[in-house]
């Protein structure tokens, strides 16, 4: 409970700081806000920032020094009060409070951005170390160029990434080939053709697709879609008798990805200024021509972002692949055969039963790092393409 009270006390102090900062500035200006450099609220926030900043600095220091306990809380309180006192001292009418507050906000924005970088660094580092261990035990040439994936408990496994890589690309491709057209067309329909009411219902409804746990999709693939595809397509076409297939997983995953494409694209398309619409319609363009030739190019960067997000999800998905496409690593062109993906094997090797210092487990990290590098390359490619295109069009 003491934590709760500390928290409450902190909040109260912050509220005080705001009020005092504001009041102090107003008083120094004789109550006339026109005499202030910034708005009264800015002075309040500047005081809050100084108070919080001092307290957090002490906390950080304590963390680094490894101190803990009530002494730290007291020190934080003292620092906060000192910060408040200082900010009140400087918070006169001439003080550039807005600039100070904006510097603080900017600091927060930059700090937030570094979290993404830190995460990347963390991921790379956490995988790099184990990957090195893996390559100490297993020849990198076999890993990158072998077409066989066959881990064994007795050791002496064959851990070639190629069949997994192929499965990943194949399944993602099918999923995207389904989700991107469907999602994009749905987005276009919702933003350009559908009535307000339909849109208000359908858009959130489609978003539910993104929230259904993937296990449901997996079972749907396993029990419904798989046998359906086998009985209606694979067997009549003589393409095999497997119920689990790349096609099954790809299609079901495609369904899951629809909202990623549709909802984000819909927002971007809706944001395109009306004047562009009018310009095209006045030239006698039909709605679809306007959309395809004017709106979509203008909205392209956002749409590419949405598609990349969908692709990322496709690459990162496990459950649907396990249940829909099976666990067999295989290199084949036949879309009605069972295959599997890198992500699935990362999960299964990481949570599997082999000894955690064995190459069979460590390979998960090498797979993860390789996947990271590949997706990085794909993202760079996407960025370059979008840039080229933008240069042309803007």
């Amino acid at each position: 409970m003491s934590e709760f009270w500390l928290f409450a006390a902190g909040l109260a102090l912050v509220a005080c700081a705001y009020g005092l900062g504001r009041a102090r500035a107003l008083a120094s200006a004789g109550g006339d806000i026109r005499a202030l450099h910034s708005l009264p609220g800015h002075y309040g926030w500047a005081a809050v920032q100084a108070t919080l900043g001092a307290a957090l600095a002490v906390l950080l220091l304590a963390r680094l020094a490894g101190w803990s306990g009530p002494a730290v809380a007291v020190a934080m309180g003292v620092a906060a009060l000192a910060g408040l006192g200082w900010s009140l001292h400087r918070g006169t009418a001439r003080f550039r409070a807005r600039n100070a507050v904006e510097r603080g906000v900017m600091g927060f924005l930059i700090l937030a951005s570094t979290i993404a970088i830190a995460t990347t660094a963390g991921i790379v580092l956490s995988m790099l170390f184990e990957t090195r261990n893996f390559f100490a035990l297993y020849d990198w040439r076999d890993f990158f160029f072998s077409a066989t994936w066959a881990p064994q408990f007795q050791g002496d496994s064959q851990l070639g990434i190629l069949p997994l890589l192929w499965g990943t690309l194949y399944i993602s491709l099918i999923a995207l080939a389904f989700a991107v057209p469907v999602g994009l067309l749905a987005a276009i329909y919702l933003s350009e053709y559908a009535g307000r009411r339909m849109r208000a219902v359908v858009k959130p409804a489609l978003e539910v697709l993104a929230g259904i746990p993937t296990i449901v999709y997996g079972l749907f693939a396993l029990i419904t879609v798989g046998p359906l595809l086998r009985d209606w397509f694979a067997q009549p076409l003589g393409l095999g008798t497997s119920a689990s297939s790349v096609m099954t997983a790809g299609l079901v995953m495609g369904v899951m990805l629809i909202p990623f494409v549709s909802s984000l694209s819909d927002d971007i398309i809706s944001q395109v200024p009306r004047a562009l619409h009018d310009g095209a319609s006045a030239l006698g363009a039909t709605r679809s021509e306007t959309i395809r030739q004017v709106i979509l190019p203008a909205a392209l960067p956002g749409i590419v972002g949405a598609v990349l997000l969908a692709a990322s999800r496709a690459i990162g998905e496990t459950m649907i692949v396990v249940l829909g496409a099976g666990a067999a690593a295989r290199l084949s062109l036949n879309p009605f055969e069972a295959m599997t993906t890198i992500t699935v094997k990362i999960v299964s090797q990481l949570t599997g039963d082999s000894d955690f210092a064995a190459p069979e487990t460590l390979v998960a990290f090498a797979l993860g790092l390789t996947l990271f590098v590949i997706t990085l390359a794909l993202n760079v490619l996407a960025l370059v393409i979008v840039r080229r295109y933008r240069e042309q069009y803007e």
Binding site: M106, I117, I123, Y189, L209, L264
Partner: protein, 439 residues
């Protein structure tokens, strides 16, 4: 000049273009329908197999609470009575059930005492014990108890277990099913709304009928609080910096690509990272919502950032110019004008990101939240550090259980998760509709 063709007749080119237009529109509608149809299909299958979990079979019988068995010391002190285990309560209940069956004049051939006792859940003694310990004065009296029936009996009432399957089943006999029929007819057994499904903790394979989502719901709620409180502000802040303030150079390109790439990192890798950073390095506890929440924050950030950036990009430059022109700072232009216009996209990012975070299991696997947890975490903020489960972890867990009764419960849990998702997103969806107003 050639006379102009009539407006009422379509020239062939326009007719062709109109056909293309109709096709395009048709495709759009078809796409929407495909999405909606898939959703309906999935929902129907989830609802049809999961709604049963919200009703549970109970046995209603009078139970005589023997003082000699339940409070041998006679102190009526809960601390002392705690020594009496569920085994003793089980005996009391068995006796009561046999008595009730006999009183009702039900006689089924070849039904052993053990089989009659097995009509009740193994949770029943624990239920009774909790009740008695909460109110020791009940000891010595006869109370009307409503006790959980065994999962197979419940399955029989729900149509999952049949006479035929009972023949083959090691855990239930046809005789028990006949008794169940008789008890239902005699008003001693009925299906009631299953509050415990939403409030109780998990249960083992021996008593699927008692398994509930209470701990998982709280765990998920705690994690979503953390995700909402951190991922949204951090994601929006990052996007604003990158899109509105950062210099456009190699470094920011690198950051941009990096963030897009983070979205493609398999979620389990975030679990690896979370384990390394939050548990091993920062020393946070295992199985705790705080760690789960933080991992999910890292996982959701890219989604929020990508959506937000796309929307910020789409805001016309004229708006920013207008604000700067009246002397707003760039910060003010962004917060007063650009953000509100980009809000729909940001909210979409939040909706999709939260959906993803709420439904994700894999990273939780590595930080100990895919677990059997029966104790409820405390209220926040302490509760963030207590062991808890999460809805997707519970679903994942239940789908692996061997008892078929868990299939229904897993689907029920999915329904709860979807309702949770809708409730959580309702505010965002409504807000987005407001911001979507085109001026």
């Amino acid at each position: 000049m050639t006379p102009h063709p009539s407006l009422f007749t379509r020239d062939p080119r326009t007719a062709r273009r109109r056909a293309a237009e109709a096709r395009f529109r048709g495709f759009g509608l078809a796409a929407v329908l495909i999405g909606v149809a898939a959703l309906l299909m999935l929902l129907t299958s989830v609802l049809s197999s999961g709604l049963g979990a919200f009703r549970q079979t109970h046995v209603h019988i009078p139970v005589a609470l023997e003082a000699s068995v339940l409070d041998p010391a006679g102190t009526r002190d809960p601390e002392v009575m705690r020594k009496v285990t569920t085994l003793s309560y089980a005996k009391v209940i068995e006796a009561a059930l046999k008595q009730a069956v006999a009183d009702a004049g039900i006689a089924i051939d070849g039904l052993t005492d053990a089989e009659i006792a097995a009509m009740l859940s193994k949770e029943a003694p624990a239920q009774l014990r909790a009740k008695v310990l909460a109110d020791p004065d009940l000891v010595g009296r006869t109370i009307d108890a409503s006790l959980l029936a065994n999962g197979r009996i419940d399955g029989y009432l729900k149509g999952r277990v049949t006479m035929d399957s009972a023949q083959l089943d090691r855990n239930v006999t046809p005789g028990q099913l006949l008794l169940a029929d008789a008890m239902v007819a005699g008003g001693m057994m009925s299906k009631d709304f299953n509050f415990a499904f939403l409030t109780a903790g998990d249960a083992s394979d021996l008593r699927p009928e008692a398994a509930g989502l209470g701990v998982a719901i709280i765990g998920s709620a705690y994690m979503m609080l953390i995700v909402l409180g951190l991922a949204l502000p951090l994601g929006v802040a990052t996007s604003i910096w990158l899109e509105e303030f950062a210099p456009k150079n190699r470094w920011t390109d690198l950051i941009e690509v990096n963030i897009a790439n983070l979205a493609a990192v398999p979620s389990i890798v975030f679990g690896v990272l979370g384990l390394a950073i939050f548990i091993n390095f920062a020393g946070l506890p295992q199985s705790a919502p705080i760690v789960g929440g933080l991992v999910l924050v890292l996982m959701t950030l890219p989604t929020v950032i990508i959506a937000t950036r796309a929307s910020l990009k789409a805001v016309p430059q004229g708006i920013r110019d207008a604000a700067l022109g009246v002397g707003a700072s760039r910060m003010q232009a962004v917060f007063h004008h650009v953000l509100p216009l980009a809000a729909p996209g940001i909210l979409t990012g939040a909706i999709i990101g939260l959906a993803q975070a709420l439904g994700e299991t894999a990273p939780l696997l590595l930080i100990g939240m895919v677990a059997f947890v029966r104790e409820f975490p405390a209220a926040p903020p302490e509760g963030f550090f207590d062991p808890a489960s999460a809805l997707p972890a519970q679903i994942y867990n239940w789908t692996q259980r061997s008892d078929p009764a868990f299939v229904e419960r897993a689907s029920g849990a999915i329904i709860v998760l979807l309702v949770f998702l809708l409730v959580m997103n309702a505010a965002a969806i409504l807000l987005r509709r407001r911001f979507e107003r085109r001026w």
